[in-house]
């Protein structure tokens, strides 16, 4: 969610300052106090505590003990941790690679005003109505090798050992992520595609450009900003994937799908090493923030207005 956000934030901050309207009662800071206090208490303070806890050793019993840099040094020596970073990146990148082309095609297609497209789009939207938990539970059931779809479609799934090997398990995570979130990104692209001025297409048609050419020369370039928005969302979403891993693979087989967000949960709430868990959590915040910032900078995103605005 970070990013719709960043975008909206940029928009919000950039609005020209309002003209002075003298003499009107202006609200004092007291108006903002409840929300601020609430937010500080439940988001900022915990974040500070994460930082503090990452330098302690605590198993949930008694009080945390100061442990210096122990958690951090151990973390960078821990093969599972390093591997989890790699897996997080891998799953995120695969997610972006699968979802982006799919949702652009579907979004542009759905932007057409034909009645059949409207009806199909409404159906495409349905996975978005389910929670990540529900989606994971549904797919776990569907993919059961003996009682799920693989048992009825052996030609496609073979012995159905999808979750029992690394490539299969990663594939499942990427696919389920795409199943759930492609509708969302489709929606973004649909809105953006509708906002492309029709004049451009009309001009192209006069020049005799076909559908394919129009798509590559007009539609795609016009969707550039939207692509960045959508990709930032995918990246942050991918890095914080949790429900799907917990329910579908539990980080397995072995540690083959133990991505960082899940490893944090495992360290903290399964092995009761809250210090190490906090260190991973802090690392996650830093990585997610840095990635968002880098993408924003590299793309020059902070200098433009969002194309999705007003959707």
């Amino acid at each position: 969610m970070t990013t719709t956000v960043t975008k909206a934030a940029v928009v919000a901050e950039r609005r020209p300052a309002q003209r002075r309207s003298a003499g009107v009662g202006r609200p004092g800071f007291a108006w903002a106090l409840p929300a601020t206090a609430f937010f500080v208490l439940f988001a900022v303070v915990p974040l500070v505590l994460v930082a503090v806890l990452s330098f302690t050793s605590w198993n949930g019993l008694g009080s945390p003990r100061f442990a210096g840099l122990d958690n951090w040094t151990k973390l960078f020596d821990d093969p599972v941790m390093l591997n989890s970073l790699w897996l997080s990146v891998l799953i995120t990148v695969l997610g972006v690679l699968v979802q982006t082309p799919l949702s652009i095609l579907l979004g542009v297609w759905a932007a057409g005003r034909q009645r059949n497209r409207a009806i199909l789009s409404a159906i495409y939207f349905v996975p978005l109505l389910l929670s990540a938990t529900a989606v994971s539970v549904l797919w776990r059931t569907l993919l059961d090798p003996n009682f799920g779809v693989p048992s009825q479609a052996k030609w496609l799934f073979g012995d159905g050992n999808l979750l029992g090997m690394q490539s299969g398990a990663i594939g499942v995570l990427v696919f389920v992520g795409a199943w759930q979130f492609t509708p969302f990104h489709t929606l973004i692209y649909q809105g953006a595609a509708r906002a492309i001025p029709q004049v451009l297409y009309q001009a192209a048609q006069i020049d005799g450009a076909g559908t394919v050419r129009q798509f590559f020369h007009i539609t795609l370039p016009q969707l550039r900003n939207t692509m960045i928005t959508s990709m930032i969302l995918m990246v942050v979403g991918g890095l914080t994937t949790f429900d799907t891993v917990l329910i579908l693979t539990q980080g397995g087989p072995g540690t083959d799908t133990t991505i960082s967000a899940y490893y944090m949960y495992q360290k903290a709430f399964k092995s009761f090493d809250f210090g190490a868990g906090s260190a991973i959590a802090l690392l996650l915040v830093v990585v997610a923030t840095v990635i968002s910032l880098v993408v924003v900078r590299v793309s020059g995103y902070d200098k433009m207005r969002s194309s999705v605005e007003g959707l």
């Binding site: 806890l53 949930g60 008694g62």
Partner: protein, 436 residues
């Protein structure tokens, strides 16, 4: 360190304030459960499942006569141990709680949270003498008793589908070679020889537990658990691993076992529907099958103990599994007398009958009298004799080790099966486990 504690206190105060201010409108959201603050109550926390019926009944019995009332709280599903550890040092901690003995309570003993039961036993020696010693002892930590058995014992047995075995001309294996032969015969019939819920990981662990015992006897694991990590490199350890490797490579578990789970009934259904010949599982397999495949449970569900290994030092009668579940007592309880009175019920006739009625097998000395009243007398008697005669009853490894070891242990076991770790890799992984 003091700092975080102070911060948290300040935060807590702030939270309380914020609560009062912002949430008076949301009063309906509060829950009435859990939390052991009440002055005239003791909270009993148990693993939430079908067996709660008996616990409810005993709490009701207790409350009929006691001035201090017992309240039963449950944590459902597989998260029990996790949730327990998260609340045990908070004000929400119960007075009495369910556990697996051994490593599952060791951290709590180390944190000085539990009440040693010596005094209770001094006042009421039956609190100890009413239970089978091998079982009672597995809740002894640092030489002191910390748990009273509740519910039943759950040894791991080799279950089979009699019809499938008969079709393949196989009998329940007495030796490891018999088992290898059976695997071959079943495979030839196109059946997965052994159902395994590898997705849950702990069912896979059971194979290690039994093979280590049969090959090298119970001491190797005890040594390792005691902190002697060289035990994992011993010849016995390596031999057991080699045998497991061979079994897996022979296709005994098929190819997709890691996508199958016991907890969603995958593996038991394979056994019940004749798609697999065997399943190594805790004694609860029986009630699971009765519940979901009653016809199969009645007619074709067979069971035997784990085969012996030629040249191995472990006794054929040794068992592994959950020796029993236990009630342990928190030191901070305000009503030790009431707690003691409650624990007394755990060897009463009423308790034994009720447990047998739901298919559990209590380990009290008076259990034998009532075996005939059990839901399935033959099965109960079979198990009771096994447990009573067992020279060693090894608590499941993941329960014997501290909780923090269980995830890496499960992962190593799974990786050894699927080839992700070789023998040396597995040994190293086991040596890296914290032994507390």
């Amino acid at each position: 360190m003091k700092t975080p504690a102070r911060i948290s206190r300040a935060v807590a105060a702030g939270v309380a304030l914020a609560l009062g201010l912002t949430l008076s409108a949301c009063g309906g959201g509060s829950s009435d459960s859990a939390g052991g603050g009440g002055s005239d109550k003791i909270h009993v926390l148990v693993y939430g499942d079908a067996a709660n019926k008996v616990e409810k009944q005993l709490v009701a019995t207790f409350n009929k006569t006691s001035k201090v009332k017992a309240v039963l709280d449950t944590i459902p599903g597989a998260d029990y141990q996790q949730k327990l550890q998260t609340i045990i040092s908070t004000p929400q901690a119960p007075d009495i709680f369910f556990n697996w003995g051994g490593g599952s309570i060791k951290p709590f003993v180390d944190a000085d949270l539990l009440l040693p039961l010596d005094d209770f036993i001094k006042k009421d020696p039956a609190l100890k003498s009413s239970f089978l010693p091998s079982v009672f002892d597995s809740a002894t930590v640092n030489g002191k008793p910390y748990g009273v058995p509740m519910r039943g014992t759950q040894p791991v047995l080799l279950f089979n589908n009699k019809k499938v075995l008969a079709d393949a001309g196989v009998t329940p294996p007495k030796t490891w070679d018999d088992l290898l032969g059976a695997v071959k015969a079943l495979k030839a019939k196109g059946v997965t020889p052994i159902a395994l819920g590898g997705g849950d990981q702990w069912p896979t662990l059971m194979w290690f537990e039994y093979l280590y015992d049969r090959v090298a006897g119970p001491d190797v694991f005890q040594k390792a658990l005691g902190g002697d990590k060289s035990a994992w490199e011993s010849a016995g350890s390596k031999k057991a691993l080699g045998m497991i490797r061979k079994l897996v490579d022979a296709g005994a578990f098929g190819t997709n076992y890691d996508s199958v789970k016991f907890t969603d009934q995958g593996s038991p259904t394979l056994l019940a529907t004749g798609k697999a010949g065997f399943e190594l599982m805790g004694s609860w397999e029986y009630s699971t099958q009765q519940d979901s495949h009653p016809a199969f449970a009645k007619k074709d569900l067979g069971y035997s103990s784990f085969p012996t290994v030629a040249g191995g030092t472990g006794d054929a009668g040794n068992l592994v599994g959950n020796t029993n579940n236990f009630y342990s007592v928190m030191k901070k309880t305000k009503h030790p007398e009431a707690v003691a009175a409650f624990l007394k019920l755990q060897y009463s006739d009423e308790f034994v009958k009720a447990q047998l009625g739901i298919g559990n097998l209590p380990t009290t000395t008076n259990t034998e009298k009532f075996l005939g009243t059990s839901a399935s007398p033959a099965y109960s008697k079979y198990q009771f004799d096994l447990v009573k005669k067992a020279p060693s009853f090894q608590l499941s490894w993941d329960q014997a080790y501290p909780q923090s070891a269980s995830t890496p242990m499960h992962q190593a076991v799974q990786q050894f099966f699927n080839g992700g770790l070789d023998t040396d890799g597995f040994i190293k992984a086991m040596q890296a486990l914290p032994t507390a």
